[in-house]
Symmetry: C2
Subunit: 402 residues, 2 copies
């Protein structure tokens, strides 16, 4: 937690990954983020992995540091309360992030009637409003057929919901950008961020699209080979698998030195008549000639023997390890100052991270766990909407809030 966004108030009506991570990043930089959910939880409230008590570790990971209001969104009065929350007054309020449909009761037009300068950031599936989720968008972009080993023609879906995550961070950027614009021109805006456009634009930004257009087909599947430079996994004498990357001339020369194959590679360069040092692409073109040299060098030594040489030489490499080993890795989880032991709504205590960025000039504030569902209903209805206690009691009695 940092205070960069102190004083901002963001309302979140969301589910799944993209919109909740947007709210998470905003909250961890100091914004007050108020999330509303259906009573009993939205469609992501029971998402796996679950604790033994049946509460979602996923939900409590994505909603850290937010406030929670529970509303019956199927009823007109509940819908109206959600609208009023999204468009609540206040100079640094009127910031709403959602993945609700663009045409429903949380449409921009409906909310702008309540607050003309509302900034709304809306995660969508397809830009035309049709249903799409990370995995269907990904399938439409060709990536699953580019992923995996070339001796297996089955598509491989990603496990990390990369499009959702990229969309969420981009939405956080869009939110603060639209706020800056509003501070200048007083205008409200909706920024629509469809996964389909994030995917299509990103494949273009990285050159995949132009390549497919020029060659007439997408990049072929190539296992763990780094496209266009030198990189792959190699196995040591003791069966450890290491990832090696050599993109820059320095990364290349240092790796050859550390592995003791400088002379063999020079001899291959002479034979083929190229300079691998100065043209990373040639390392890729001739990778089938280079791989055996590297394979032998890795297979001749244990990971323990290789590590000092690779580290001392400033080589870009890393061991494959399962996540349970990462938990004991000082640089990732153990001793990482991002993480603090926190007691979560599931009742479990385990380390949780604050903001992913670190500001050396500022002090990190404590990590705040996710709320219990509805934990802040009364506080928010009274404080933000100004509802009197008797009115809040009525809403509870009628099951409109919880």
């Amino acid at each position: 937690m940092y205070d960069l966004l102190k004083g901002l108030r963001v309302v979140e009506g969301s589910a799944f990954v993209a919109a909740p991570t947007c709210g998470l990043y905003l909250a961890q930089m100091g914004a007050e983020v108020i999330r509303f959910d259906n009573i009993g939880g939205g469609p992501d409230f029971r998402r796996w992995p679950l604790s033994e008590s049946g509460l979602s570790l996923y939900w409590e990971g994505l909603n850290k540091g937010k406030k929670s209001v529970a509303i019956d969104l199927s009823r007109p009065e509940g819908k109206e309360i959600a609208q009023r929350l999204a468009a609540a007054p206040g100079e640094d309020g009127g910031l709403f992030v959602t993945n609700f449909p663009a045409e429903g009761f949380l449409a921009y037009e409906a909310l702008a009637k309540l607050r003309a300068d509302l900034v709304c950031v809306r995660v969508m599936g397809w830009a035309d409003g049709s249903q799409g989720m990370d995995y269907t968008i990904n399938a439409a972009l060709g990536l699953p057929q580019m992923t995996g080993h070339p001796d297996d023609e089955r598509p491989v879906n990603h496990v990390l919901a990369a499009w959702d995550l990229l969309t969420g961070a981009y939405c956080a950027f869009a939110m603060v950008s639209a706020l800056l614009a509003r501070q200048r021109d007083g205008q409200g805006r909706e920024v629509r961020v469809p996964l389909s456009d994030v995917g299509a634009a990103t494949m273009a930004n990285l050159g995949f699209m132009a390549e497919a257009q020029l060659t007439g087909r997408q990049r072929e599947r190539m296992g763990n080979d780094l496209y266009g430079a030198f990189g792959r996994d190699f196995v040591t004498r003791d069966g450890q698998r290491l990832m090696l990357l050599c993109v820059t001339p320095r990364q290349w020369s240092k790796a050859l030195e550390a592995l003791g194959i400088t002379r063999e590679v020079a001899s291959l360069e002479g034979e083929v008549g190229v300079s691998f040092a100065t043209d990373e692409g040639l390392r890729f073109t001739h990778r089938d000639r280079l791989y055996p040299l590297f394979e032998r060098a890795f297979a001749a030594r244990t990971a323990g023997e290789l590590t000092p040489a690779l580290d001392a030489g400033g080589v870009t490499w890393g061991a494959y390890q399962p996540l349970e080993a990462a938990l004991r890795d000082r640089r990732l989880y153990k001793d990482n100052p991002l993480f603090q032991d926190v007691r979560h709504p599931s009742g479990l205590t385990y380390p949780a991270p604050g903001a992913m960025g670190t500001i050396p000039q500022d002090e990190r504030r404590p990590v705040i766990p996710a709320p219990r569902l509805g934990q802040h209903t009364d506080e928010v209805l009274a404080g933000l909407l100004g509802l009197p206690g008797a009115e809040i009691a009525r809403l509870h009695d009628q099951g409109i809030v919880a």
Copy 2:
């Protein structure tokens, strides 16, 4: 291109994916982004894919709409020019994004001497400053062993540099957030965003980390199965592969209806004694019983026969298609208003996207291509640093700029 960030001036000293995408997102929202590179290009200037003329489609994709200054960064005077650019004066300037080392000539302390309120966003590999790139961080987090089909134990690296992309978007968010804070408190700050922390925090935010801690081991590899709910690829009678997702109760019931297997699934529910509709996790637990029902339903019909039923029912599904087919897909590339035909520095004309978000209230401005290397050297040295023409000529003559 939109104007949300109009008036901001960002300087970028960067390579690869994360920091350049940060600058790209800022530029596409209206900031003036000035990128400096070594004369002849940085370590990413020849990155594949290349045009036939040898120019990088990747570089020209990631640097659209930026200005380019070419400097000999190996010489003291060149380093000083880069420092002066990063810390150049101006109310909405002093914004610097980089992946240069935290301890080198572009260290925050060095730049803050030139401009005390500098905002610097720094992409790093490992948080401790050691070398790390997307693929080595990914290997350390366990994801390659979770990815791919369970009958193949080789790790599968991702093809999309997901950690780089997430880091880049988060950096754009961090940049604007730190600017908002500076407007309030006048303070400069460095925000360090290491790929290792982005990775570690994200695996925690999504529940992967808590799960590994509770169970003692990471999630097992499960091919294209959606973890914790129902989703997988299925093959139609004509050999088309479709991705189906059923997370919400509605997605589930609509899919069963469209596939005509509502009754069979109800019968299985009776036999097993569960309700798949109300608990998405049970669909995952019993997926080996459910899969044959779905496989038969898909195999009985062609994709052409299935499409109207799936679409009419509001089912969340999508076809796998290679990228060359996506180019003809109206919803992705063809007819997508994000894209415009642009002539790029490679000399090729092909469609390129503007901002990934769409603002219905604002007009999209034309997509601006990437610069030629050094295209804006003179303009920036004169306009931003106020160097007289004779001085700029000397720098050219001495090969310090180009």
